[in-house]
């Protein structure tokens, strides 16, 4: 199984992903991972359309793990788009080993105590703990808006923001 890229982005598939990342990363299969999104029939319809040509699945965390470990999944170069840091951590705990992990957008959730650490990434204290748990698994988390941007270390960003 090759997970060429894992992106954490609660805006899921959108212009940045399809216009820049889809081209920059050679991928056979885009998997959007989140239990709630996977259960939403409209998201199931719109997201593969939004991916403009990249074969796309919308799966729960469990189903993503099952697929990645399947015979078919083993042969592919998979781009995983995890909606939330929790989803990403659960995927890693389930055995996924992405080549890189990048934090895309995390729009603030109403009624949470968040801090905007970049202009498009909101982080709560709970989120910060999850990002650290991801890093403790040996990953360097980056925050890159576009594939060509310089990779900023996300834990450094959290530290700077006292999170």
């Amino acid at each position: 199984m090759t997970i060429v890229h894992m992106r954490i982005d609660n805006r899921l598939i959108h212009g940045q992903v399809t216009a820049s990342w889809g081209n920059a990363i050679r991928t056979d299969h885009l998997i959007v991972t989140n239990d709630q999104v996977a259960g939403d029939p409209i998201q199931q319809m719109i997201l593969p359309q939004a991916a403009r040509g990249i074969p796309t699945s919308v799966l729960s965390v469990e189903d993503t793990l099952r697929y990645a470990k399947s015979e078919k999944g083993q042969k592919e170069r998979i781009f995983v788009l995890a909606k939330l840091p929790q989803d990403a951590l659960r995927l890693l705990e389930g055995g996924l080993q992405p080549e890189e992990i990048n934090v895309g957008n995390q729009a603030p959730m109403p009624a949470t105590k968040f801090k905007m650490v970049t202009h498009s990434i909101a982080v709560t204290a709970e989120d910060a703990a999850i990002y650290r748990a991801i890093a403790e698994k040996g990953y360097r988390l980056t925050a890159k808006m576009m594939p060509s941007d310089r990779a900023t270390d996300f834990l450094e960003i959290l530290k700077k923001n006292k999170l």
Binding site: N10, I13, I42, I46, A107, S120, A122
Partner: protein, 133 residues
């Protein structure tokens, strides 16, 4: 009269609205929404749906939603409206918007949808090639 809601990444929608009104004058039932980079999909969806209600309030003619980019968040957040029957068109440009604003007082929603799709394509012209003839 059919209401129009334009939705974009950043200030494009407001810019299109301003440009269109510069040409055809101030418009009623015409709203623009520019998505903030930090917007969350659910609140964007709520904002679009509120604008559609406002643009169509008290008129049976319906509302046409014009978004900038297929696959972008404005389009994805409009998917729920699209599934429930509101026409949502992607790839909005100024030629499309102008045709729609001019035709919307007399056209049906289906006719206006067709006008929009056609004018968006016809508005893309290689001027250099035309002048070289």
């Amino acid at each position: 009269m059919i209401g129009i809601v334009v939705v974009s990444h950043g200030p494009l929608a407001e810019g299109l609205k301003g440009a269109a009104e510069m040409i055809v004058g101030p418009q009623e039932r015409f709203l623009a929404i520019g998505m903030d980079p930090a917007a969350d999909l659910d609140s964007l969806r709520a904002e679009i749906e509120a604008a559609v209600s406002a643009a169509g309030a008290g008129d049976e003619a319906g509302v046409l939603v014009l978004v900038d980019l297929m696959g972008g968040s404005p389009a994805n957040a409009s998917a729920y409206l699209a599934v429930s029957g509101t026409p949502v068109l992607c790839g909005t440009n100024l030629p499309m918007l102008l045709e729609v604003l001019v035709a919307r007082a007399s056209a049906s929603l289906q006719e206006l949808t067709n006008i929009a799709l056609q004018s968006a394509k016809e508005g893309i012209i290689n001027l250099t090639q035309i002048l070289a003839k």
